[in-house]
């Protein structure tokens, strides 16, 4: 047997099996890491043993040893899902069921879920006969297990075998699923509720109407809100399966009830799934039922629910039937949105700010100017920076519809305020939108109003801001061109080379590093290079070794004569510097630029 193959027992002289014996021995080692390594090489072991011994020796051995650490079990559960060929192909795939069945009953959720995943995978490799003879009995055993873990696992297996079994077995499967939906442990009901949609998809329409709907209704009014909210998820799949004329009687009563559930978690789920629900129930029901429900969710007493609904405003409006879209938005949705702009909760406002700009494309120019613009402006002045940022980050939507000029008067103070926000993360966020803003506002507006800000960030207290500011300059040059750079930013950047603060002098070098390529050879050689070379005499070693790094970086942009006559002597001098780091980076630059 496999156990006797362990080292010391391998006396049959078969050397080729020795490494395998070692691996198997490791499966029983005290050290978890070794067992884990061995499990991960399980396919190697199986390959070496051959299909027959894998079936008759390795798998029973594994089935017997399932009491290990969860980590090892997880690896095992995963491995076994890919074992079909190693046990001899589909004909023998059922050999993998016993160990996976045990794994599907352990307490640890991760292991159990992985075992179910592997079982689902290998179910496809069973022939219809094997499915009925081997797989389906396993599902039944799990479904009627004593401990809740096996019953939760069973929930995930019904849908994979249902389509491929005979009608008698199908009836049994439906019965088992029904039983689990009313299991007395909530864990099992949750598992069943979460698979309800998936199971509905493989059922015949008649059974969807007769079986699934009653289960759905029962789960949606479960005593535990954790079960009810999962029924909402299933609602999407179920509604998609049913013909339009049945939706009203079979699904809508439950959905309406969920949207007004006393638990905010359930209402949150409805809000969160609103777009999917809207698509599933179609335009007519949306107009009559979902619009008022959505209004209620936007006005919910719990901020969490309002925020989830606010997030869906744009998608919901987009998907409204075209003939009545504008009327619905203007008369029903917009009044709620207006109230949300001054909500007491900042998460609600910020969720709204991240989508509200999208309404302008739906409503068109006139409505945007008249109704939305005041809201945008109010949000641009919101006390919470996240709200303002979310508005600014979506400016492109408005730009397409009304042009950004309409906003620029209010935009500027908002940007300036964010640019000077006390929190560096806020400053960082606004820097990231600068290139976008610059592109939309145009070069003149930029030079006049924003350029100073961009330069001020270069001397920020926080390195991350200085770094982002450097990168921002590069993107601006890519947008506005080298000539613009030469006239506006290059002189200011180079001016900082004489700053008394060495951090600012280094910022000059960092800017040159990122700008040289965008500015091109001429500006780099004529304006930047002399400054860099001059800085090689800086008193601060950090500046000097950054000179060496900069020279290495801009070297490829320079022509070879400048490299030979100007760069090389400076680097050679730096290579004899008293400071170790300066020497190191100078030498590195010399070798990279091939100046040796």
């Amino acid at each position: 047997s496999v156990e006797k193959e362990a080292p010391g027992g391998g006396a049959d002289g078969d050397d080729s099996l020795y490494p395998i014996a070692v691996l198997i021995d490791e499966l029983r080692n005290e050290d978890v890491q070794l067992r884990l390594n061995s499990i991960k090489k399980l396919s190697t072991i199986a390959l070496a043993l051959g299909v027959e011994r894998t079936r008759t020796e390795l798998l029973p051995f594994l089935t017997d040893t399932i009491y290990d650490e969860d980590e090892v079990l997880l690896a095992l559960a995963e491995q076994l899902g890919n074992f079909t060929m190693l046990v001899g192909g589909p004909e023998y795939v059922h050999c993998l069921l016993p160990p996976l069945e045990s794994l599907a009953t352990v307490e640890e959720t991760v292991v159990r879920d992985k075992a179910v995943e592997s079982l689902r995978k290998i179910s496809q490799e069973h022939s219809p006969v094997d499915l009925e003879v081997h797989f389906e009995p396993l599902v039944k055993r799990l479904a009627s297990g004593d401990w809740f873990t096996s019953r939760t696992s069973a929930c995930g297996l019904f849908s994979v075998c249902y389509p491929r079994v005979s009608s008698t077995v199908k009836a049994e499967i439906r019965q088992h699923f029904r039983t689990l939906c009313s299991d007395d442990t909530p864990m099992v009901r949750r598992a069943a509720a979460s698979k309800l949609g998936e199971f509905a998809k493989v059922l015949e329409l008649d059974y969807v109407k007769s079986d699934i709907i009653s289960l759905f209704t029962a789960l949606a009014s479960d005593e535990q809100d954790s079960v009810r909210l999962l029924a909402v998820e299933a609602c999407v799949s179920i509604a998609t399966l049913l013909p339009q004329e049945d939706l009203e009687t079979l699904v809508m009563p439950t959905l309406r009830q969920a949207a007004e559930d006393k638990s905010w978690r359930v209402r949150y789920m409805v809000a969160d799934k609103f777009s999917e629900l809207q698509k599933a129930v179609g335009p007519e029901i949306t107009k009559n039922d979902l619009v008022p429900a959505f209004q209620n969710l936007l006005k919910d007493c719990e901020a969490e629910v309002r925020a989830a609904a606010a997030n869906k405003v744009k998608e919901f409006c987009e998907n409204l039937p075209e003939d009545s879209r504008e009327t619905i938005i203007m008369t029903h949705i917009l009044p709620c949105v207006k109230e949300l702009v001054s909500d007491t909760n900042q998460h609600v406002k910020s969720a709204l700010a991240s989508v509200i700009m999208g309404l302008s494309t739906i409503l068109g120019k006139d409505n945007t100017v008249e109704h939305l613009l005041p809201l945008f402006l109010a949000q641009l002045k919101d006390e919470c920076p996240e709200v303002r940022l979310n508005i600014i980050s979506n400016l492109d939507c408005v730009n397409e519809v009304i042009g950004i000029r309409q906003l620029s008067q209010s935009l500027l103070p908002a940007i300036v305020e964010l640019a000077e926000d006390a929190k560096w993360r806020v400053r960082l966020a606004i820097i990231e939108y600068m290139p976008l803003l610059a592109g939309q506002l145009g070069v003149e507006f930029f030079d006049e109003k924003l350029n100073t800000l961009c330069m001020a960030w270069l001397i920020d207290h926080v390195y991350a801001i200085r770094e982002a500011a450097t990168c921002n300059l590069m993107k601006l040059v890519e947008k506005f061109g080298a000539e613009w750079a030469q006239n506006t930013i290059v002189p200011k950047v180079l001016g900082m080379a004489n700053d008394p603060n060495y951090l600012h002098r280094m910022t000059t070098l960092f800017c040159i590093n990122s700008l040289s390529e965008a500015c091109g050879q001429e500006i780099t050689t004529k304006q930047m290079l002399p400054v860099v070379l001059k800085m090689s005499n800086d008193q601060v070693a950090n500046v000097r070794f950054n000179v060496a790094k900069s020279l290495q970086k801009i070297g490829p942009v320079l022509d070879s004569s400048a490299l030979q006559t100007e760069v090389k002597p400076v680097l050679e001098k730096l290579a004899t510097d008293t400071d170790m780091d300066v020497k190191y980076f100078a030498q590195e630059a010399i070798s990279v630029l091939a100046l040796a």
Partner: protein, 458 residues
């Protein structure tokens, strides 16, 4: 200090945690009453004590109905008058059921139950702080506490009233009632959980028919806590109730109870927030083991399986629990688990975190544990020797080194022959490693020795 704080504020604007907390505390009140009923202003009713006895029942019932009106406490300025009327009425009701006999007539039960359910049963609000850390953060308090507290008070007095009849009350205090009560244990407000604990305890005591159901639901809450959400605020309170329930279990223990111990209580040691309920959990475990010593071996093996790998704070808790278990262990049980257990203790003793090492070494201050070790010295000493000997030379913390010396001394006194043998074989082992290193010139081996240096000098 404050100047520094504002200066850093200006530079960075990162508010320090203490300051953020101070801000939080001001508004850390939450409430979630999903109101559907419209508010009508309350008008004061006459005092119960002034009413003629023939009208008292009717007035009592009117007052109970009045107290079903719910108010928005998140808005502290609205309905002030009505809120005060309800508060005074609740106070009066509490007084009425605790001081009077014969007030709990059968018709009062549904009205009492209705008033209680309307007020306390609600979906708890979403946590104000999504990464609420019960060990660090201030809890969000229930805003409507001025009323809810009195309702809990009333419920307790109702249950404790000498006239209280479980046979009538069970129509209202049923499974659904208990289920909703249990859900409230997730409240962030410790005041509320404290009331709930007493209430549930009374219900468990008075309603025999609900006992199995209550245990089962607690079981479900715990399983969900361990395997699904990793979050439930009332674990400590529920465990406290269970502690006294376990105490009353009849012998032999039912399979259901053993399963609860092995599949719920033991895996519960893996929870992230163990520190919040470890004392109660350890108490429950020890209660079980005192009832049925046969369970000691599987429990200790379970703890060893879940032994923390990186969290020193938890390791100290596990060691504390092991000591509590060893305090009540039977010598025959000790023999069954001594090997795996002392392998773990030996690892703990050698832990670089001095609190872990210290906690493990404290075992040797326990007279009963010492007697168990002495009885089994031939098994325990060989397991412990290597670690103890090594750290007596190596541990960075002088307190630990001193403790280890004492432990070694105690062990030596228990069996000096074995001790000498182990010392000799330890030294020869070390020498062998040294010789091998010099023979093969293996750099890494020599490195190992380098790390071991200072062993021989003692």
């Amino acid at each position: 200090m404050s100047i520094i704080a504002t200066a850093t504020e200006k530079v960075d604007g990162f508010t320090r945690k203490s300051m953020r907390k101070a801000q939080k505390q001001k508004k850390s009140q939450g409430s979630s009453q999903f109101r559907t009923q419209a508010l009508t202003e309350l008008s004061p009713l006459p005092q119960l004590k002034d009413a003629p006895s023939t009208e008292q029942q009717e007035l009592f019932s009117q007052k109970l109905q009045q107290c079903c009106m719910l108010f928005d406490f998140m808005d502290s300025v609205t309905d002030l008058k009505s809120k005060e009327i309800k508060r005074a009425t609740l106070n009066e009701l509490v007084d009425y059921v605790s001081t009077n006999r014969g007030v709990l007539v059968e018709t009062a039960y549904p009205e009492i139950s209705n008033m209680i359910c309307t007020n306390i049963f609600r979906t708890l609000p979403p946590s104000d702080n999504p990464d609420f850390d019960p060990e660090e953060d201030e809890p969000t308090l229930e805003a409507s506490w001025p009323h809810i507290q009195l309702v809990y008070e009333f419920l307790l007095r109702f249950l404790e009233n000498p006239d209280f009849q479980p046979s009538i009350a069970k129509r209202y205090i049923d499974q659904k009632f208990v289920l909703q009560l249990l859900e409230l244990f997730d409240s962030e407000d410790p005041r509320e959980r404290d009331f709930l604990k007493t209430v549930l305890h009374r219900i468990y005591g008075k309603f025999l028919g609900l006992r199995a159901f209550i245990r089962k639901q607690i079981n479900n809450i715990f399983l969900r806590f361990i395997y699904e959400t990793d979050h439930f605020n009332g674990v400590a309170e529920l465990l406290e109730i269970l502690g006294s329930i376990i105490n009353g279990f009849a012998l032999p223990l039912k399979a259901e109870h053993k399963q609860f111990l092995m599949k719920v209580l033991v895996p519960m040691h893996t929870a992230k927030g163990l520190a919040l309920f470890h004392a109660q959990l350890a108490y429950c475990v020890v209660q079980f083991l005192e009832k049925d010593p046969i369970l000691t071996e599987p429990v200790i093996r379970g703890l060893l399986k879940f032994w923390p790998k990186t969290c020193s704070q938890k390791e100290v808790m596990y060691l504390g629990e092991i000591e509590e278990i060893l305090d009540v262990i039977e010598p025959t049980q000790f023999k069954k688990i001594q090997e795996p257990l002392f392998k773990q203790i030996s690892r703990c003793v050698a832990n670089p975190h001095f609190q872990v090492a210290e906690r493990a070494l404290y075992f040797w201050n326990n007279e009963y544990i010492l007697s168990l070790i002495e009885e089994n010295i031939d098994k325990v000493l060989p397991i412990m020797f290597g670690s103890l000997y090594r750290i007596s030379k190596e541990h960075w913390n002088p307190t630990i080194v001193a403790l280890v010396y004492n432990v070694l001394k105690t062990l030596m006194e228990m069996n000096s022959t074995l001790f000498d043998e182990l010392t000799a074989s330890y030294k020869s082992d070390r020498q062998r490693v040294e010789v091998e290193a010099s023979c093969y010139g293996d750099a890494s081996l020599r490195q190992d020795l380098g790390n071991w240096s200072g062993l021989g000098e003692g």
